[in-house]
Amino acid sequence: MTLFENTKIVISSLFTRPATLMYPAKPAKKTANTRGHVTINPAGCITCRTCQRKCPTQAINVDVKEKTWEIDNMRCVVCAVCVDTCPTTCLTMDNQYRPAMTARGGIEKVTVAGPKKKEPAAAPANGAKPAEKKE
């Protein structure tokens, strides 16, 4: 009769550190690749709306006229398709999870730079103006 097969494992775990991570008192384990939430660099956005078209849960809304970019964090499933397809790479995937909520919330709205205006070819007087400006 082979009994107490598990005793060896139990006794050895008496002498090792507990494997439980005391989250949220201690921060969660994170790696460089972890998908936490989507962040945007507003200066780089050109409101092409590629992220809005590609988002599988329709969590992103871009308003071209108002020049705003909005994301519903509770709808986002952090699939990173928007990050991969953004042409100016202004979206990044941060590796901290978004905080838990007890009521409807998590909608972030930022004002973005918008498409760059093309510099008119014959404008030598204002040659020094920077390319990025609102309207």
Binding site: Q58, A59, I60, N61, E70, D72, R75, I107
Partner: protein
Amino acid sequence: MAAQVITPIGVGDVVSKAGQAKKDGYRLVQIGCTKIGDDFEIIYVYDKDFTLLSYRITVKEDVVIPSISSEYFGAFVYENEIHDLYGLHVSGINIDFKGTFYKTAIKHPFNVTITKEGDSCQNK
């Protein structure tokens, strides 16, 4: 992967083909239903030694389809699902749930398409 051939047959041959497959040693893999326009296509897939044998029938909504659970006992899950999701009538299932296999808010949900207005988060 080898090419996969799906043979079209008539509704009356369903049970005899199932009996033939069972005699030849095939096991039932799945029975799947697709709605194309007004027609329903039901595909019976059998497998032996990793080679698939598939049959397709095309029916309209009011046709009664015979059950193959006399040959394959396990077919009742698929046939009850077809009845509950698509509204097709399958006669002679050995364990017939009579529409209570999946209890959904809308009867036969895969038959209807509903578009909700203004449901997306971002006021689209």
